[in-house]
Structures are given as C-alpha cells and as structure tokens.
Symmetry: C2
Subunit: 137 residues, 2 copies
DNA sequence: TTGAATGCAAAAAATTTGCATATTG
DNA sequence: CAATATGCAAATTTTTTGCATTCAA
C-alpha cells in the first residue's frame, strides 16, 4: 500500500502530505488541469495549496510514474492517476463532454503505426476530438 | 484562387494582408504555435505583427475553416493549413521530432470508435505521442 | 460609407523562480 | 543531520481586452 512512497523514493523523491493530497484530488476529479487541481484540492477539507506547490507536485508525480497527462483541453494539460490510464479519452467538440473507451480499441491502430513507421505509440496519452453520439446531427 | 476571400466572407469576415501573411507563415512552417507564428512572420520580409493580431488572425482563420490545430506541444496549440490536414502527427517524446503518416492509417480506428460509441472522431486533430523508430531501444 | 480588423498599450491569466523555512528519510 | 519540499512573493510568459484608427468591401 505504501507503493506511493516506494515509487517516489525510487526517483530520489519524498512522499509528502501535499503530494498525497494532489494524488487524492486527481482520484476524485478523474482528470484535471493544474488549475482544476488547485481549485479542487480544498474539497478534502484541507487548506489550499499555492500554485507553485501544485505545479511541482504534478511534475514530481508524473516523473515518478504515478500520474500521466493528456490534452483534453486546448491549452493546459489534464493530469490523471496512472492507474486510471487504461482508456482512451474522447472529447466532444460540441458539448465538451469527455468519455472513455477501452484501450483495446486502439490496439490495431497502434500496431499499424508500428508496422508502417516503427513508431511506438502511447495511445494512453492520446485524446481524440470529435463529436459524441448525442451531438451528431 | 481567391477562395481565401470567399471562405472568410462566407463567415462575415474580411481578407486582410495580415491574415494572408499568417496563412503564408503557416505554409512555410508546416505547423506552429502562436508564438512560433509571431517569430516566424518577419521571415517574409514584412514587419512584425503584434501578438493580439496574430492570435486574432489564427482564430479567424480557424473559424473560417482555413486553418486547424493539433496539440503537438504540451502547452500551446499548433496551427496548420487546413489543406495540410491530410495526415496524422506522430510526436516523439524522446527527440521531439514530429513525423506524419497518412490519415488512412487511422481509418479502421475511427470506424471502430464510431461503431462502438457513435463518436465521430476528427482523426486529423489527433496527435499521437510516443517514441519514433530511431529513439526506440 | 460602415462595419470589421489592426495596432498599441495595458490587463489578466498561467506558469516559473528564488529563497528562507519546514519536513522527510 | 542532510537533502528535499514547501510556502510565499515576485518575476516571467502567454493570452486577452479596450479603444482609437485604418481598411476592405
């Protein structure tokens, strides 16, 4: 259960209360931009964290592999728990909703990329924009 | 040839020298963030444009369908000519190179998304991150 | 002529940095 | 105890806004 600490220490980092809180916030939010994390943090009853700490936490967590990010938003990256990283994000351009489909759906695509060009795709990191079913005319 | 003007006017917009220059800059650059456009513009011999103009030009061009954007960068969007929009971008995490593969490669993937969830994917907008062949160990 | 677009300057957002202090291992 | 993180304030960087002026149609 203390895999968190392990993971961080393996990268010469330390487990701090703030990093745990950021992690939990991501758990609650699913995926969130740095701003959304900053705003969403106090929901756990704790005090707000300064932006610099949140930015640094996210970077540290990502570096140690506990967190990943995608680009749901057109600007800021959206972070999520690495453990939630088993699906692909579909972002609807019309209603803004973000849905998810199993990673497996992209398997053949990733394979054809590898065959065609030797590129090893991280399909997890990929956000697919378009129109969701309910927004399709 | 004056399809540019047409396109813009169809959206109640006008064809200006600045918009043409931004368009040409994108032609030269392939794909570029707003900052890169700002920096790259004077290469045509003309004067620099203020950031506000560049941002507004990009938005207008995008709205009229002449330009699209993807997320090659982890922050700012990268704009490109809509006419160059016939391929998928592969971004190498290691060396930063951006390569392109034919849209067709994503056809089956898009179809399976549509079947599975009714989501109409704009594969064009999609940037795939990972490791290119020369950076794969 | 007239509404749309530009240029400039200033404001607002978003992200990063420096450094003294607090904390983890 | 030593090294890493935090908190805070300030500096950057990026993007947006207001408005008088210019320009396309």
């Amino acid at each position: 259960m203390d895999e968190l600490g392990e993971r961080l220490r393996a990268h010469g980092m330390r487990l701090t209360a703030q990093r745990e809180r950021v992690l939990r916030a991501l758990g609650r939010l699913g995926h969130a931009t740095p701003e959304q994390v900053i705003d969403g943090l106090p929901a756990d009853g704790g005090p707000a964290l300064p932006p610099s700490t949140v930015y640094r936490c996210l970077e540290a967590l990502q570096e140690s592999g506990l967190v990943t990010h995608t680009h749901l938003d057109h600007r800021a990256p959206s972070y999520q728990l690495a453990t939630h990283d088993d699906h692909i994000h579909l972002v609807c351009r019309a209603c803004g909703s973000v849905s998810q489909v199993p990673l497996a759906l992209a398997g053949p695509f990733a394979r054809s990329l590898a065959e065609a060009t030797g590129f090893a795709a991280d399909v997890t990191h990929m956000a697919v924009h378009g129109r969701c079913a309910s927004c399709t005319p």
